[in-house]
Every structure is written in C-alpha cells, then in structure tokens.
C-alpha cells in the first residue's frame, strides 16, 4: 500500500484544535508509527507518550478516528481505509499537551479502590497454596491481565458523566483482589467499592469490554463486585 495519509492530530491542551499533516502511507504501519513520523519529520514539538511499542506497557493509548485504542497495536490499514486518520488524546482525562493525557486521576482512583495488594502473611509463613481451578482464582485470572492503559476509562459513559466514579480499570483490579485468598484488605476494599462513585454507579453499558484491547470484561468484574458488596452490606460486614 502506497500513497499519502491525511492525518489530523490534536494540538494544544483542553483548548486547542486539530492540525492536518500529510504522512507517507506504508505497509504494516501502525498508528503510533504515523504519530512518530510526524514528530520526527514534520513537527518536533508534537507531544505524545509511548514506551514498549508492543502492547505491554499501556502508555500509548489515544483516540483514533473516535475510538480509544492502543496506537502501537492498531494498524493503519484496519482503521483508515479511506486514507484519513484523526488522532486525539484519550477522553475523560485532562490533556497535558497534544496527545499526552494526565493519568493522575486514573491512578488516584485505582488507589481509592484499594488496588494495591495487602499481604496477609509474612516471609516466615508457608506459601499459600492456590488451586488453579478454584472459583476465586478463575474469576481473578479472567480479569488479571489489565495493564492500565485507560482505554476502558476513556470509553466509559459513566466516567464522563460522574467525576466521582472510580471507573472500570480500578474496579476490575479490585475484583481480582477480592478473589485473591492471600489478600488481607477485602473488607476495606468492598467498602470502597460500595461507597458513592463505586461499583454501583456502573450502568453496565459495556463500553469497557467493547473497547478493551485485551478483550477483558470489566463489566463482568463490576457485576461481581456489586453482588459481593451488596452481600457484605446486608450482612453488616461493611458499613457506609
């Protein structure tokens, strides 16, 4: 495939506009390749974020032709059949500059949802035996591969409408730990998930699972949290 791509890139922060660039259209070209080509050949002031380029780090997510995507794993041929690309920063996050968003609110909510593992044993205790086929482990495994790229967060309508909502990634992470028998903070975690802006604010629109590049299903994780938190509330294990 040869020719020229007509690429519009967001320039500015919260206020700004799309600027058009002409980029050589090559075979096996990713959207990240296009952004990099513009920065190296047309405008060195273009800001964007990436690290691994192979879908492992979760740094390079942007809005590509209206959808949040990993730019490193999105081939131009899949999304720009007519030769046009419009690339903006992720939605639902403050824009630092151009295509780079401030991820701080995303990770603060991850902390609010008690996304950090709380060990229940010391190094002197025997190692916990985890049965791979146990119900808890299977539920955790189904959600564990999240790399916090914030694609789900950018795709979520509830995040857009309710600034207090913790979002799919943080709640998905909480669900993996709720199902981890080694964790010691699940009462606090369920209380965090049950508070205002927690799992019960989710409308189950399922945009998170529709857009997740890893085909995870945060909506299912959140549904599990809703049930578990409601049970904990009704049995007075947690209080609001």
């Amino acid at each position: 495939m040869t020719g020229t791509l007509d690429v519009s890139l967001w320039r500015g922060a919260a206020e700004g506009s799309f600027r058009r660039y002409q980029v050589p259209w090559r075979e096996n070209q990713t959207v990240l390749d296009v952004v990099t080509w513009v920065q190296r050949n047309l405008d060195a002031t273009l800001s964007y974020r990436f690290a691994c380029r192979v879908g492992m780090c979760g740094s390079c997510a942007m809005t590509v032709n209206g959808r949040p995507r990993w730019t490193c794993r999105t081939h131009v041929s899949k999304v720009a059949a007519n030769g046009r690309l419009t690339i903006g920063p992720l939605q639902n996050l403050p824009v630092i500059k151009d295509l780079a968003t401030d991820m701080q609110p995303f990770f603060e909510k991850w902390q609010t949802a008690k996304g950090a593992f709380a060990p229940s044993k010391s190094r002197t205790d025997p190692i916990e035996t985890i049965v791979p086929g146990s119900a808890g482990r299977l539920a955790a495994d189904a959600a564990i591969e999240c790399i916090n790229c914030a694609v789900c967060y950018a795709a979520c309508d509830t995040v857009r409408w309710n600034p207090d909502y913790l979002g799919p990634a943080a709640l998905n992470r909480a669900w993996t730990l709720v199902n981890d028998v080694r964790d010691a903070a699940n009462v606090e975690r369920l209380a965090a998930a049950a508070a205002n802006g927690g799992c019960h604010a989710c409308h189950s629109h399922q945009s998170c699972q529709e857009h997740c590049p890893l085909a995870l299903n945060p909506t299912a994780s959140i549904a599990g949290l809703k049930r578990r938190a409601a049970q904990a509330y009704l049995t007075s294990t947690i209080k609001l």
């Binding site: 509830t158 309710n162 207090d164 508070a195 927690g198 409601a230 947690i238 609001l240």
Partner: protein, 109 residues
C-alpha cells in the same frame, strides 16, 4: 449511587414488578368488563386488601423513583450531590403525598 441506595432500589423494583403486573391486569379486566367508576369504587372502598396493595405500590415507587432521579441529576446536571439529595427527597415526598391521596380516594369508605 452507593450500596445502600442500590439495595433499596433493587428491593423496591422487585416489589414493584409483580404489583405493576397485577395493576395492569386489573385495568384490562375492568375495561373489558365495562365497569363504571361507581362499579370500581364499590369494590375498592372499605377494602383492606386494595388499601394494602396500592399502599405498598405507592410506598415502593416513592422510594424507587427518587433514587433513579438522583442518579440522573448527578450525571446530567452540575448540581452538587447534596443538592441532588434534597431535590429527590422532596420528589419522593410529593410522590408519596399524591399517591396516598389517590389511594385514600379509592379505598376509604
């Protein structure tokens, strides 16, 4: 939305669903039988069963609807959560008052 509101909304929804079905069936039944207002009031006035039925219906709706409205206000307006709470508490009181008045009109002898 938090777990307390979630549980109340689900419990009242579970109550409203069968009551709503019976309510609709009663409407169709009364229409097909061609009952007049006097026929209907003759059956409902002084009836403890209909008072309990519609009393429960109004109570459940007066709890259920404000919780949903609160979510709409929080997501679609710039009102603060506390303001949303006050508005929907007022909304619930209005539903309860109007509903109770309607129930009283058809069941009090």
């Amino acid at each position: 939305m938090n777990v307390r509101l979630y549980v109340w909304q689900r419990l009242t929804a579970a109550l409203i669903l069968p009551l709503l079905l019976v309510h609709l069936i009663v409407i169709f039944y009364a229409m097909r039988k061609g009952f007049s207002a006097a026929d209907i009031l003759g059956r409902t006035r002084g009836s403890v069963a209909w008072a309990l039925f519609y009393g429960a219906f109004v109570s459940a709706v007066a709890v259920h609807a404000p919780i949903g409205l609160r979510t709409v206000l929080i997501e679609w307006t710039r009102l603060r959560p506390r303001s949303c709470d006050l508005i929907v508490i007022g909304f619930g009181i209005v539903i309860a008052a109007l509903g109770s008045r309607a129930v009283a009109a058809v069941v009090l002898p």
